[in-house]
């Protein structure tokens, strides 16, 4: 497939864009990465995602697909022979993967994101606790899912799958949160299963070249905070 037939509009710090990149890598899809300019948002972004005006947007044969998890499923559907299956084969396993991916987006990510802007120590502590509880649930889910099969490497079995991508894409920002809060969220004591999984995930061939370095994300976060800080 010609490289220009597949474009991904995104930005390097975004965990949602990372999801799309990992999926495309798993399927060995050749694509053109278009770094969104923002300030102002590009014409391409406004035209291809008029509803949300957000990245990532996958453009395939001139048709835009929006929302990171929808993009991941689309990639899995279209390039089914390009690489291992991203979604599990069994419908129940697929439902579990989708359930937890939804949880990551609806509960875990918003809590984590809100910590930086928390008003007061009490709210900050409450949000950190929410993230800790979420990670405990995911640790439990990881143990349950991997105890079913023979392969205990990833949520997806011996290969990374949908839930690995959905959750793993947040690892960089989770590490930034640990640094900025001084709270260890993810380690051998609290979440041993996930701590080991995280190392394997980040080292995976489809992930390692596209996962942004934590120190770069930290710099980016500091720049953002300076821009957003009240005068």
């Amino acid at each position: 497939m010609a490289k220009s037939e597949v474009k991904l509009l995104g930005a390097w710090p975004s965990p949602f864009v990372l999801r799309a990149r990992i999926a495309l890598n798993i399927k060995s899809v050749d694509y053109e990465f278009l770094e969104e300019t923002f300030q102002p948002k590009s014409q391409l972004l406004l035209q291809s995602n008029p509803v949300y005006k957000k990245i990532p947007v996958l453009i395939h044969e001139n048709k835009p697909i929006c929302e990171s998890l929808i993009i991941v499923q689309y990639v899995d559907d279209v390039w089914s022979s390009g690489g291992p299956s991203i979604l599990p084969a069994d419908p129940y396993d697929r439902a579990i993967a989708r359930f937890w991916a939804t949880y990551v987006d609806d509960k875990l990510f918003p809590a984590m994101k809100s910590i930086a802007g928390a008003k007061g120590e009490e709210e900050r502590k409450r949000l950190i606790k929410e993230v800790e509880e979420g990670l405990a649930l995911l640790e439990d889910a990881f143990n349950k899912i991997t105890s079913k099969g023979n392969n205990k490497l990833f949520f997806g079995g011996d290969q990374i799958g949908y839930l690995d991508i959905a959750f793993g894409s947040l690892l960089g920002w989770l590490r930034v949160t640990e640094i900025t809060t001084g709270v260890k969220l993810f380690d051998q004591v609290n979440t041993p299963g996930l701590a080991n999984w995280a190392e394997r995930f980040c080292a995976h061939a489809a992930v390692k070249d596209v996962m942004p370095h934590t120190h770069k994300l930290l710099e980016f976060a500091k720049t953002l905070m300076t821009k957003l800080a009240p005068i």
Partner: protein, 228 residues
């Protein structure tokens, strides 16, 4: 029988979605009516994370979240000429998922907000916001009988609350959002949808939905800070 159970409440439209999906597929199920003011052990065990309805239990395995359950139903019961809920084409499928997410994240929230808001500028703004989200759906349904084409599909099921529950919210909120003048296509779709079998077989009595939403609205309004 006994293989498929649905924990739910008839007044809840996410639960109705599941009934519609199961009935379209011709799947027999047992409905376990849940009292949300006194949650059952079964609900708490089956959905410990959210403790919410609907929960589908198939061969003893629980699945929660209505959109996740609908995809599960579509993938599990796909033989015997069973009608496919999601489109076959990957791009069409991506679009259906996109609009389903939009409905739950934007339409439901904005309509609820417009309903709950009390008089004044805040209410006007909320109503405008709700109308804006619904205008996207008007565009999507234009020229089609159902979102799924000739037959009811996944997106029709997800949008289904607009054909019945919405009018209750409009009444309680003293607002009008979808009517034949403003959204002729969506209005027409709603009438077709609610009058089709098996959809019309799973509609709860209006007074039950009124009571259900009334309680919720009054609760939210009572929590709102008093304006000086």
């Amino acid at each position: 029988m006994g293989e498929v159970k649905l924990i739910g409440t008839h007044q809840s439209f996410p639960c109705a979605r599941i009934e519609w999906g199961l009935k379209i597929k011709g799947v027999e199920y047992e409905y376990l009516k849940e009292d949300l003011s006194n949650k059952s052990d079964l609900l708490i065990e089956s959905n410990p994370v959210h403790k919410k309805v609907p929960v589908l239990i198939h061969k003893g395995n629980p699945i929660a979240e209505s959109l996740v359950i609908l995809e599960y139903i579509d993938e599990t019961w796909k033989d015997n000429n069973a009608h496919s809920l999601l489109p076959q084409n990957p791009y069409e499928r991506a679009l259906a998922r996109f609009w389903a997410k939009f409905i739950d994240e934007k339409c439901v929230i904005s309509v609820w907000g417009a309903c709950v808001a009390q008089e004044g500028e805040e209410k006007e703004k909320a109503v405008e916001g709700a109308i804006e989200t619904l205008s996207h759906l008007e565009k999507q349904i234009k020229g089609k009988k159902f979102f799924g084409g000739e037959k009811i599909g996944y997106l029709d099921i997800v949008a289904g609350w607009l054909s019945y529950w919405l009018s209750v919210l409009e009444e309680l909120g003293e607002i009008e959002l979808v009517n034949a003048e403003r959204f002729p296509c969506l209005h027409e779709w709603g009438k077709n949808f609610i009058n089709t079998s098996p959809i019309k077989d799973c509609i709860p009595p209006r007074e039950d939905v009124l009571a259900y939403f009334s309680f919720g609205i009054n609760y939210v309004r009572s929590m709102a800070p008093n304006k000086a």
